[in-house]
């Protein structure tokens, strides 16, 4: 439906604020991804499995690869955060982690603007994402 007579459409305040938060997060996450990969690739931060050895294992399934390279699954990878490979992995995990925080921010923004239905939808989405992030489904 097109409407020639109507004034310029205005974006909802919630959506405009969410877009601003999203833009800041994307810039930060992309910078973190680039820096972490440089640390990993240059081996400035050493890894238990050197980057040059990865191609000899990447034909294995994720479970076999984890067993062969002593990569910890679930949230146990955090205990290996001192390694270059884990820092690069953490930078990749930052993208879904940031989206959980942004979804929670969306619930708060909708609550602030008294848009109850969407506040609830965002809140339920946070729970769904937290269940996925918890690792319960990975066991």
């Amino acid at each position: 439906m097109t409407d020639a007579g109507n004034p310029m459409p205005r974006i909802e305040r919630t959506q405009a604020d969410f877009a601003r938060l999203l833009a800041r997060f994307v810039s930060f996450a992309l910078a973190a991804l680039f820096l972490s990969f440089v640390l990993y690739a240059t081996e400035l931060v050493p890894s238990a499995v050197r980057i040059s050895e990865v191609p000899t294992h990447w034909h294995l399934s994720a479970a076999e690869y984890a067993a062969r390279t002593e990569t910890r699954t679930g949230w146990n990878w955090l205990s290996q955060i001192g390694q270059g490979r884990t820092i690069a992995f953490a930078a990749l995990a930052l993208f879904p982690a940031g989206m959980v925080v942004l979804t929670a921010a969306s619930a708060l923004l909708y609550a602030r603007d008294r848009v109850t239905a969407y506040g609830l939808i965002s809140f339920v989405e946070v729970i769904v994402l937290l269940v996925a992030a918890s690792g319960v489904l990975a066991r």
């Binding site: 439906m1 909802e12 969410f18 994307v26 972490s36 191609p55 399934s61 990749l92 969407y118």
Partner: protein, 310 residues
């Protein structure tokens, strides 16, 4: 080398037999050579994806799994990161201009993310051969959808359904090509919500971005204008890919050496593609994309059938 890679899964009947060709392939390049090759390949894939009118994610998984010697788990993990990062980088501008609608996106994303988690869980639990065979079927289905689905720039919505009315699923945006504002509203919301469970499941299971299904669902089913459907599809993908990505993160099924060059290559490729779009022969390239997807889909189907019945 790429031909050897393509043929390796079909030549090998089991994991033991696969070891010899795999070792040969791995030794043929140093790690940085693989990273550069993958980066260059995904730049090209990104260009073709934009000009061909499909999402990068849907091309990434079937084609990279056919051409590179990575395990299917890592290709799907990287595919999800490609879809997530691509959708995230375009998200802010599409939300700010009002082309993407959070009111349209959130309800669909909620149902889609539930399906996406279930799909990711299933995809990592079922035998690889079976999942690859199912991917082949899914890709062939997407090719059929690309060939036969019609799109409507401004669908007519005569009666808004009660759910859409309750949630206030409506909006307006300024259409540059028309030079005036466009208002829209939605219908058939309950059916669309259920369809999103299935769309999310396919996306999560195979690590595909779901733009190929989002756009027809939002445009033809819900009645959103085509531009709103395309833009909101990206927003929904950020949520659905996030939920599936967690399952892959928890299984350590994302390798930085594969995922980072892929994400970087696809982001650069899609930007180049967007620049080339006005001058490119989009119709011819769309046929090339359909051809590539058909070959990759048939290959996945062949690998699946070979592994399941061997």
């Amino acid at each position: 080398m790429l031909i050897v890679t393509l043929a390796a899964p079909c030549l090998a009947q089991d994991a033991q037999a696969a070891t010899a060709p795999q070792a040969l392939i791995q030794a043929s390049l140093p790690w940085w050579g693989w990273a550069l090759l993958l980066f260059g390949f995904t730049v090209a894939l990104g260009v073709v994806a934009v000009v061909g009118g499909v999402g990068g994610g849907v091309l990434f998984v079937p084609i990279v799994s056919a051409v590179f010697p990575f395990h299917f788990d890592f290709v799907r993990g990287a595919g999800l990161m490609v879809a997530l990062c691509g959708a995230l980088s375009a998200g802010p501008i599409l939300l700010r201009t009002g082309l993407a609608s959070m009111r349209l996106g959130w309800p669909m994303a909620l149902f889609g993310s539930i399906g996406s988690i279930a799909g990711a869980f299933l995809g990592l639990s079922l035998p690889t051969g079976l999942v690859e065979g199912l991917l082949g079927l899914a890709i062939m289905g997407i090719v059929v959808l690309m060939l036969f689905s019609s799109r409507s720039d401004f669908p007519v919505v005569e009666r808004v359904d009660p759910v859409a009315r309750l949630l206030g699923i409506r909006g307006s945006y300024y259409d540059d090509s028309l030079g005036r504002p466009v208002s829209w509203q939605a219908h058939r919301t309950p059916v669309a919500l259920l369809s999103y469970v299935a769309i999310g499941m396919i996306g999560g299971m195979f690590g595909l971005g779901a733009g190929w299904a989002n756009v027809p669902a939002l445009n033809l089913l819900l009645g959103a204008p085509l531009k709103v459907a395309v833009a909101t599809s990206g927003f929904i993908m950020t949520i659905n890919s996030t939920s599936a990505a967690w399952v892959y993160v928890n299984r350590a099924a994302i390798l930085p050496l594969i995922a980072v060059p892929s994400v970087a290559g696809m982001m650069i490729g899609t930007r180049i593609g967007a620049q080339l779009l006005p001058r490119a022969k989009a119709r011819s390239i769309r046929w090339i994309v359909i051809g590539l997807m058909t070959i990759a889909g048939l290959r996945s189907l062949l690998v699946g059938v070979t592994e399941v019945f061997s």
